[in-house]
């Protein structure tokens, strides 16, 4: 089943026209093109907005990912009631830069949200994302708390550990879905990277994901497939993740990477922590699903 048919099912289900839960099967051919040449854009520097511009340029510009009139979802990690220095949430400057690039590319609407772990309002405020998005004077940007009514159950045909999940409608329907995680430590998944960040679009009892977490993250990745993943490694959390709180656990790298291959980018980000892609269960499971490349030798890095 292709993406178009899947979206048709989603909209029919949510409009009450169908009682069959939407389901999605990946077609390996659809992914084959990606697998041939995974590219990662890499940029390092203190000016985070400039870094975002650089990596987008080296991937061919935001216009490649956002077409005029598109609905765009930008999904940062705003899961915790922590401030930007504590490296638990995506840096607000990166979120802002991506929103602005999407607007410049002609997006009809740019939606930014996360389903938080701590109290939602506190996370939005303390992460700095709320304040910084207010400085963008555009009515095409919406920064909102998820609406309970919009979680849609989706059958995951290829899911090995997760067979059905509730997923936020906006994330499913977006023309362009830009995943913007922060790279950090996590005891169970070893690291929280791109695919783990997609748990922010899940409804229901997310705690259940943690039993066989790596496989379930990969199963989710068969449905929620970002047009672009941008990993914030400006500061990375080395210990006591995923929320940290102690500045001694934070290492400043001033690095941002981006890729269209969700597996390749997670694999590469692993090296920031002096680990191997194979150490991360979700990367391995997603690779086995055929969602992308995890062999670092086969990934092309463009440094800017």
């Amino acid at each position: 089943m292709d993406r178009r048919e899947f979206l048709k099912q989603v909209s029919m289900w949510s409009a009450g026209l169908s009682i069959t839960v939407p389901h999605f099967t990946i077609i390996s051919e659809a992914l084959a093109a990606q697998r041939q040449a995974p590219v990662i854009a890499y940029a390092k520097g203190k000016d985070y907005a400039a870094l975002v511009s650089q990596i987008l340029d080296s991937l061919g510009g935001m216009e490649k990912f956002v077409k005029s009139g598109n609905t765009v979802v930008i999904k940062p990690n705003i899961g915790w009631d922590r401030n930007p220095d504590q490296a638990a949430n995506t840096h607000p400057l990166i979120v802002k830069a991506l929103v602005e690039h999407a607007l410049d590319a002609g997006a009809k609407e740019v939606k930014v949200f996360d389903r938080t772990c701590n109290e939602a309002r506190r996370c939005y405020v303390n992460s700095g994302v709320q304040d910084i998005l207010k400085t963008i004077k555009s009515n095409r940007v919406t920064f909102f708390h998820p609406d309970e009514r919009k979680y849609i159950p989706v059958d995951i045909s290829k899911g090995q550990a997760a067979r059905r999940l509730e997923i936020y409608k906006d994330a499913l329907e977006a023309d362009s879905y830009i995943n913007v995680p922060i790279a950090k430590h996590h005891s169970l998944s070893t690291l929280t990277l791109g695919m783990k960040n997609s748990m922010g679009v899940l409804g229901g009892k997310r705690g259940d994901m943690h039993h066989d977490l790596g496989q379930k993250i990969a199963d989710l990745a068969t449905i929620v497939r970002p047009t672009l993943t941008v990993i914030d490694a400006t500061r990375i959390l080395l210990r006591n993740g995923p929320q940290g709180g102690n500045l001694n656990d934070v290492k400043v790298l001033d690095t941002i990477i981006a890729s269209t291959d969700p597996v390749a980018i997670d694999a590469y980000a692993t090296t920031f922590f002096e680990m191997k892609p194979g150490d991360i269960p979700s990367t391995v499971a997603a690779y086995k699903h055929g969602l992308g490349e995890m062999d670092l030798a086969k990934i092309k890095i463009i440094k800017t």
Partner: protein
């Protein structure tokens, strides 16, 4: 006869509407609004309440500074009498509004059980002094705010969410074009941010509804006969400067007597300042314009409380003696380990003495963690706050409960001391916890543990799971020295039913008797 263009009681209604609106505004503002500090004195209603000020000061054996505004109420009462009941009290306004839906059974001007409030007042004051602080059970503001915060406001959200979910799911697009912006507006203005759930929601509602339903007995029956705050204000009003003067030579009309909602006017048309709430309905209704309110003491009518000395002394004796029996319960020897008080709470006896059961902390609690106790802290502790970690947890960076507490029962803490205040300690139930009991990986609790150096840590263990496979899993354990008892581990534990990690009051820093082995401070 002079026809008034703007009857006096319209001024009173206006004042009631304003005060009630202000009350609702502060009620809604009793919430996180994007800043760590609350911008308004949202608890002011409780701080101007002289009954609570008196009872909590007696219980604490000290003048409670936070409650000084209550003196203003007393000063104004000394000048104007029980104006507060007629012009400002939000529950009075609610009763005046509700009475149009009730036809009172008792239409006689005399109040039924008028003296009851004095007996109750005496009992509450003495009991507070002797260690049974139960004023909050009868205080009108406590009853009102509890009823609204724990039941009415959450139910409002249920109603709105159900309705707008129905239109969202079922209605055609053009209906949604209207309803969705309306819902968004309501959420932005009056609705709570998220759905809250509370213990004793129905009991709190029932008490509030009972107070309103008393209108069926008599108009303002609660104010006339039960309200101990009204009783206190009545005692002060005996000495008030402003008095209602009635016509001494009026005819046979009993308009004033019939219309008086407080039963303050007797057969001789004397207006009792003990009962009169200055609604001024009598002034408006008097055909001869013979009633006026002035500061001239010329026509002082002897005032009586109509108390039976024997009953009054009996109520005082009960207030002094009943607290003794509280000490005979097992609870007096061993506190309830499920009773988790909010961070900054005073030691239990002081805490209960000061807590006025107003529900402000539960209303403001951002994590829906605080709930009213039923009998966990004894019959005298009903409606005092306790943390129910399976429902909600104490948000690590939040200090709102201490900010709203009107009496200092919960001390106001800055963020850093709050983060180091231990309100309890978590314990694992290894029969439930998946990595222990079933060899299934989990540690959601560890992920959410908010202390920078995690109070939940884990060790790798080799376990045989239910398929008889040997698996390596991370098994969590608590580091007592780091655990602050926030309860997020219990809230987020993904098990259905009981959590595998549970919060108890063990180790709470307000009680040195409760220190854990290895963490005890010398005392």
């Amino acid at each position: 006869m002079r026809k008034k263009t703007f009857p006096l009681n319209n001024w009173r209604r206006l004042s009631q509407i304003l005060c009630f609106s202000l009350f609702l505004f502060l009620f809604i503002k009793t919430d996180y609004t994007g800043h760590d500090q609350l911008a308004y004195a949202v608890n002011i209603l409780f701080r101007i309440d002289p009954l609570l000020a008196l009872c909590t000061s007696l219980a604490a054996k000290a003048f409670i500074q936070l409650m000084w505004p209550a003196l203003l109420t007393l000063i104004f009462t000394l000048i104007f009498g029980r104006f507060f009941c007629g012009w400002a009290c939000p529950i009075g306004a609610l009763l005046d509004f509700s009475q149009r839906f009730f036809t009172p059974v008792n239409k006689k001007p005399n109040s039924l059980f008028r003296s009851l409030k004095y007996y109750l007042l005496g009992f509450l004051i003495i009991a507070a002094f002797f260690g049974m602080p139960v004023a909050g059970y009868f205080d009108p503001f406590s009853i009102l705010v509890r009823g609204l915060a724990l039941a009415v406001y959450p139910a409002m959200n249920v109603a709105a969410a159900s309705f707008f979910t129905f239109t969202y799911d079922q209605a055609p697009q053009w209906v949604n074009a209207i309803t969705e912006p309306v819902y968004a507006f309501l959420r932005y203005t009056v609705l709570p941010f998220d759905q809250k759930h509370y213990d004793l929601a129905l009991l709190s509602l029932a008490i509030l509804l009972t107070v309103i339903a008393f209108e069926k007995i008599q108009r303002r029956f609660f104010c006339r006969s039960i309200c101990p705050l009204g009783g206190l204000l009545a005692v002060v009003s005996k000495f008030s400067l402003m008095r209602g003067k009635s016509g001494t030579k009026c005819g046979k009309c009993t308009n004033c007597q019939d219309i008086c909602p407080m039963g303050a006017i007797d057969q001789e048309r004397n207006i009792s300042p003990l009962a009169c709430n200055l609604c001024l309905d009598c002034v408006d209704s008097c055909p001869g314009n013979k009633i006026s309110f002035t500061f001239s003491p010329a026509t002082v009518v002897p005032q009586v409380f109509n108390l039976s000395r024997r009953t009054f002394i009996g109520s005082l004796a009960a207030g002094a003696v009943l607290p003794l029996f509280l000490q005979t319960r097992s609870l007096a020897k061993q506190g309830n380990p499920q009773l988790i008080r909010p961070p900054g709470a005073l030691p239990e006896d002081d805490f209960l003495g000061r807590c006025v059961r107003c529900g402000e902390c539960m209303k403001v609690c951002i994590g829906n963690a605080l709930h009213p106790t039923f009998l966990e802290s004894g019959i005298e502790g009903m409606f005092s706050p306790t943390l129910k970690a399976r429902i909600g947890y104490c948000e690590y960076n939040c200090t709102l409960c201490g900010q709203v507490c009107p009496t200092g029962a919960i001390t106001e803490l800055a963020v850093q001391p709050k983060q180091q205040t231990k309100i309890g300690n978590a314990i694992f139930d290894k029969n439930l916890c998946l990595p222990y009991a079933k060899g299934i990986p989990c540690i959601v609790c560890e992920e959410h543990c908010p202390t920078p150096e995690k109070a939940i840590q884990f060790r790798m263990a080799s376990v045989i799971n239910s398929k008889r496979e040997t698996v390596n899993v991370r098994q969590p354990y608590i580091v007592d020295e780091l655990c602050i008892g926030c309860g997020i581990c219990e809230t987020k534990c993904p098990l259905p039913g009981h959590a595998a990690v549970r919060l108890t009051s063990a180790g709470e820093s307000r009680n040195p008797q409760n220190a854990l082995p290895g963490t005890s401070a010398p005392y």
